[in-house]
């Protein structure tokens, strides 16, 4: 079914409005009063949300008649690069998938902008923060609505740049600047894979625009062929870099050095989901190589359980949330890996809501605790921060997968398709299921330690604990509503829902997949699905119960458990020493070899040595020749005679 392009000139404004406001703030920010800067920034993001909504409605009305016929809105600004066979122009495309993404990104960003106006009120470079934030939203929207891979790569690296700028926002502190650099470099390693994939795609399919790729791919790439797998795996390498999956996740926990709204926006809701969006956008390629999809699913599942284990013991409130983000992203990749693309995007949406809410809640807790982030020093905030507490509770329930909140529907959809889909496997389901339990445990551990029990904070901070201003609590409330209500849009048929989210995305995803879930459902009797749903609820409740038992009922048990298995606890506490391992096996060797072997020995030693050697040999020869001129006239005479002797010898010989 050849997708039809409908010209729609408002698309450019979705992307350009944050850019314009970023430039305005960057140039005039210093002089504008804070309120004006804040509102301008939030308004620009709101504007792009409105245009996104317009685009969404336009799409809905256009495709209202033919269910299968996939329509997308197109808008092209100008021709960027056209050399040889490659033509990459600055063009935007809004189909059903990117419409959802634009709405999620723009919506959550707008809410977080409003929140940051409150959170960053006292920061001295207020305007620089908002210009970076707007720049980030511009690049993210560019990434999501790009019409070709190259422009998407621009957005891809652009968000990497903004996360570098925002993580290292308080650059006076060397630690934070280091975290920013680490994030950019690890992202760059991912981009290396993405770049190679673009090259492979261009030289084999002859085009970089998505339309061209979808048309060419089935014809050129044979299913399961080495090339298709190579392309898919390289793309996945890019995705792991950006979405912090197993090998390249190390930058996300350190990225918490940035301001909390930044962590909420970039490292929970938007940037980290770019990897998932990219794979879903190129699902045609992935369906052509089952091996790659198996790898994606495996890595996703492993990351989910791995990050969940580390999350159990972290004491920094933001680190716990960071590891839970990595684990939830693992779920999304698991969903995408088993072919349930729409489930992946659905979880992405719901995760954006409740994880942003968790981060903002954590932000207001830190705000209240005047900057302290260690949950061991918190406790008993339930009474003092009612709004934060209730919204935080809603989000925790959602993430633990307790019905009827959104987390339950999206996570359950993933677990079910992990079990039922042809690409899926019961092992994936089991890992996912265990990780769900762990998630419930550490989330409620966090909740109990911060909000329940008696306050362990020192006297001084305890006086200053106060509820955050309404500018912060209102966004929390909005997100809480979304977190609670968001799930119904994707309620599966089994529970009587219309699962309109899945049907909304179906035409965009490869036709073969469209029939996937339906045929899979038929594959298993109705009862099995109910059992699965029940099982996932049970594991969630067990997690909560265990957390209640350990932290509320018997407060001392946590320490006892930690002492009982010191090695395990130490391992988890220091996040399996992964950073240290990377440092020892990669960073130090490279640094040492380049200092002593490449630079000192080779460059200065060998090459320069040879150059200077030639200089020294010439001077040496000069000195030897000089010894002949020793001032004795008779020595000169003898050299004459020597010459005569040689001459005669030569002549007579």
């Amino acid at each position: 079914m050849e997708p039809a392009a409908v010209q729609y000139d408002f698309l450019r404004w979705i992307v350009l409005s944050p850019l314009i406001s970023c430039c305005v703030i960057a140039l005039l920010g210093r002089k504008l009063p804070r309120v004006v800067t804040g509102t301008l920034a939030s308004a620009s993001v709101g504007l792009s949300f409105v245009f996104g909504l317009l685009g969404f409605l336009q799409l809905k009305s256009l495709s209202g008649h033919g269910e299968g016929e996939a329509v997308f809105l197109a808008d092209s600004l100008y021709r960027w690069i056209s050399v040889g066979g490659l033509t990459a122009d600055v063009a935007f495309m809004l189909d059903r998938l990117s419409a959802v993404m634009v709405l999620v990104v723009a919506g959550v960003s707008c809410i977080i902008h409003v929140y940051s106006m409150g959170y960053m009120a006292h920061d001295k470079s207020y305007w620089r923060y908002f210009s970076y934030l707007n720049l980030f939203v511009f690049f993210m929207l560019l990434l999501v609505s790009a019409d070709n891979l190259v422009l998407m790569f621009v957005g891809w690296e652009g968000v990497g740049l903004c996360s570098y700028l925002l993580i290292g926002f308080w650059f006076e502190d060397m630690e934070k600047a280091y975290a920013g650099k680490k994030a950019f470099v690890v992202n760059r390693i991912g981009d290396f894979g993405f770049l190679l994939a673009i090259l492979l795609i261009f030289w084999n399919l002859g085009t970089v625009s998505f339309g061209g790729i979808f048309a060419q791919a089935p014809r050129v790439l044979t299913a399961g062929s080495g090339l298709a797998t190579a392309i898919a795996l390289l793309l996945f390498l890019g995705a792991t870099g950006k979405s912090a999956q197993l090998p390249l996740y190390v930058w996300l926990p350190d990225a918490m050095a940035g301001p909390t709204p930044v962590s909420a926006l970039i490292h929970a809701a938007t940037m980290v989901t770019a990897g998932v969006y990219m794979i879903v956008r190129l699902n045609v390629l992935y369906l052509l190589s089952p091996q790659a999809m198996a790898v994606v699913a495996a890595v996703g599942a492993l990351t989910a359980i791995y990050a969940a284990t580390i999350g159990l013991v972290q004491d920094d409130i933001k680190k716990v949330l960071a590891y839970s983000t990595i684990s939830q992203l693992g779920y999304m990749f698991l969903a995408v890996g088993v072919g349930a693309f729409s489930a992946g995007i659905f979880h992405l949406m719901t995760h954006a809501f409740f994880k942003a809410l968790l981060f903002l809640g954590a932000g207001s807790v830190i705000h209240a605790m005047s900057g302290k982030q260690d949950i061991q020093e918190m406790g008993g905030l339930k009474g003092k921060l009612p709004a934060t507490y209730w919204t935080f509770l809603a989000a925790t329930l959602a993430i633990s997968g307790i019905p009827p909140l959104s987390g339950f529907f999206s996570k359950d959809e993933i677990l079910w398709s992990a079990f039922s889909s042809p690409h899926g496997h019961w092992a994936f389901w089991l890992i996912g299921w265990l990780a769900a339990g762990l998630t419930a445990f550490y989330m409620f551990r966090l909740l109990f330690l911060t909000f329940f029990g008696t306050s362990r904070a020192d006297e001084h901070t305890r006086q200053h604990i106060h509820e955050s201003p309404s500018l912060m609590t209102v966004p929390l409330a909005i997100l809480a509503v979304l977190a609670v209500v968001g799930g119904f849009v994707g309620m599966p048929e089994a529970l009587g829902g219309a699962n309109s989210f899945h049907h909304w995305l179906a035409p965009v995803l490869a036709s073969e997949n469209g029939t996937l879930n339906a045929e899979a459902a038929g594959h298993f009797p109705e009862a099995v699905e109910y059992l699965m749903i029940a099982l996932s609820v049970v594991v969630g409740l067990c997690g909560i119960g265990a957390a209640w038992w350990v932290y509320i009922n018997r407060p001392g048990t946590a320490e006892k458990m930690a002492d009982s298995v010191p090695l395990g606890y130490g391992l988890l506490k220091n996040k399996y020493y992964v950073d240290e391992i990377y440092n020892i096996f990669i960073v130090q060797p490279v640094k040492l070899t380049s200092i002593y072997i490449l630079w000192k020995l080779f460059d200065a030693g060998i090459i320069d040595g040879l150059v200077n050697l030639s200089g020294r040999t010439v001077r040496g020869l000069g000195r030897v020749a000089a010894r002949l001129e020793n001032g004795y006239t008779q020595a000169y005479a003898i050299t004459f005679i020597l010459g005569v002797a040689l001459l005669l010898g030569a002549l007579l010989w």
Partner: protein
């Protein structure tokens, strides 16, 4: 427009700086201001005239434009033959664009002997422009030598501590290479007589000379060595860090931005088209040296304590990319290579200007002397950030377009394997640049001397503004540049393969005729995707 292309605008562009130098010579050396303003005036005038070049340039036209052909020494067939095509157009513009910026940047840097400094700068500019437009081998060689002397004096006289060593090393390295080229050229000149029947040093006619195989091997070696030293390619690069560290700011900006391009320009204008078969045979070697250059340059740059040495090694890495692009022999690769030459000129020129600004304030280039400058010098931090991002090839800025096209072209070439290593250069460049940026700009402001640093004044902003604007313009709207470069590149590639094929047939006949002589089997020239 046509009368513009007939007019001798090229003579104007090349000889205006020379006239300016003479004018400066006559001016009294007393007041520095007069000298500086007149030098600025002359270089800006050259730039304005060169803009005329841009308007008169026919975009679709692949061959030489604005050609001026006047007999010079008939008996040897030497003629004053100048002209530009898509390849050399933007290099000329880069030179004229950067010269006023460089002159402006020397106002606070160069205190003594300003008169000779300005004269040398203008003579240097004339040499460079001449070399880019010369289409006659002897004329090119003349400008090539004219270019070296001022640079040697600039490093030798106004340099820093070890300037003599660096200047001598620079001149010896380059002159050794160019002498080899001269020998090669004379042999080619003689071969030209054999095959064309008359003596000529005109480049376009020498293109038609079918050079026998064995001769091509040695000739290419001699030309390639001369240009490889200039590029600098991997084993011949050790003069670059010394020359940069010791050169004054203006000197190292010109050296990095334009003089290095002489090497790569030499490859694409002389070494490759004159000896296609040998160049094809050498492609794996050149490409692997380029890739080694990329990774080696990046790794060594990472650990440099001296800021200027770091940027110098990063130039080795960037120019490794350019060579990779040129030798990929695909349209996008070569166009990317040429575009990357321009990008490197702009971004590394900007980086050296920035290092110069730092040096003027603190008189040191050691990275650990700085730290936390960003809070003291916000405007400086902005320019430094943009230059760093452009040099690591962030999309949206100029570096990315060049690097992306090169990687694309190399992937489509006969040796796609090199892309995987070259692409790692993308990561390494991010590592060393950002590591340096963090150590210099971020972190707490401990060093007492940094406490009272003053931010950029208006003049310094005027110096940095043009290059920064160019970075954005070349990154966001490369279409104008690429469309003008591509036709000449397409012609270059088709002529290249044509001539290679002709030489192969010629050799095949030789084989049949001289049954006894066994020629070394040369890899059949792989016809690439283009």
């Amino acid at each position: 427009m046509t009368e513009l292309s007939q007019s001798n605008i090229l003579n104007w562009i090349v000889f205006l700086p020379l006239a300016g130098a003479l004018l400066l010579f006559l001016l009294p050396g007393g007041s520095r201001a007069v000298l500086r303003w007149s030098a600025l005036l002359v270089s800006t005038a050259t730039f304005v005239v060169s803009l005329g070049l841009l308007c008169g340039f026919q975009t679709g036209e692949a061959g030489m434009q604005f050609v001026i052909l006047k007999p010079w020494i008939e008996s040897w067939g030497i003629s004053y033959h100048v002209g530009i095509d898509g390849i050399s157009l933007f290099l000329v513009l880069l030179t004229t664009f950067l010269s006023p910026v460089v002159v402006l940047s020397t106002w606070s840097a160069v205190k003594e002997k300003v008169k000779t400094f300005m004269i040398l700068l203008l003579v240097l500019e004339c040499g460079m422009l001449g070399a880019f437009v010369a289409l006659d081998m002897v004329l090119f060689y003349l400008y090539w030598e004219v270019m070296l002397l001022p640079m040697y004096l600039l490093i030798g006289v106004w340099g820093h501590e070890r300037r003599i060593y660096a200047a001598v090393k620079f001149i010896l390295y380059t002159v050794a290479g160019s002498l080899l080229m001269l020998v090669g050229f004379i042999y080619l000149f003689w071969l030209g007589k054999q095959s064309l029947g008359y003596y000529t040093t005109d480049l376009l006619e020498l293109y038609r000379v079918v050079v026998p195989y064995q001769a091509q091997f040695w000739l290419f070696l001699s030309f390639a060595l001369a240009f490889a030293i200039k590029v600098p390619m991997f084993p011949f690069h050790t003069w670059l860090p010394d020359a940069h560290v010791e050169a004054p700011t203006a000197g190292s900006v010109i050296l990095a931005a334009i003089l290095l391009k002489m090497g790569t320009y030499g490859f694409i204008r002389f070494a490759m088209p004159l000896f296609p078969n040998a160049s094809l045979a050498f492609t794996p070697l050149v490409m692997s040296l380029a890739v080694i250059g990329i990774i080696y340059g990046a790794l060594v740059a990472m650990v440099q304590p001296d800021l200027k040495k770091l940027v110098a090694y990063s130039s080795v890495s960037h120019l490794g990319f350019v060579m990779l692009g040129l030798y990929s022999l695909t349209a996008s690769g070569v166009v990317g290579g040429i575009y990357q030459m321009l990008n490197h000129g702009i971004s590394t020129g900007a980086l050296f200007l920035i290092v110069g600004l730092l040096y003027e304030r603190r008189h040191t280039r050691l990275i650990d002397q700085f730290g936390g400058l960003s809070s003291r010098l916000p405007i400086f931090a902005f320019f430094f950030m943009i230059a760093t991002l452009s040099s690591i090839g962030l999309p949206g800025l100029n570096g990315f377009v060049g690097e992306f096209l090169i990687l694309l072209g190399t992937f489509g070439s006969a040796h796609p394997g090199y892309v995987y290593f070259a692409a790692s250069g993308v990561i390494l460049s991010a590592v060393y640049m950002l590591w340096m940026f963090r150590r210099v700009m971020f972190g707490p402001l401990e060093n007492p001397e940094n406490k009272n640093l003053t931010d950029l004044n208006l003049r310094e902003i005027l110096v940095m503004l043009p290059v920064t604007v160019m970075m954005f313009w070349m990154g966001l709207f490369p279409g104008a540049f690429l469309s003008r470069i591509e036709p000449s590149v397409q012609q270059f590639i088709s002529q290249y393969h044509q001539k290679a094929a002709v030489a192969v047939q010629a050799r095949a006949e030789e084989d049949r005729l001289a049954k006894t002589v066994e020629f070394s089997t040369l890899k059949e020239p792989a016809v690439s995707h283009e």
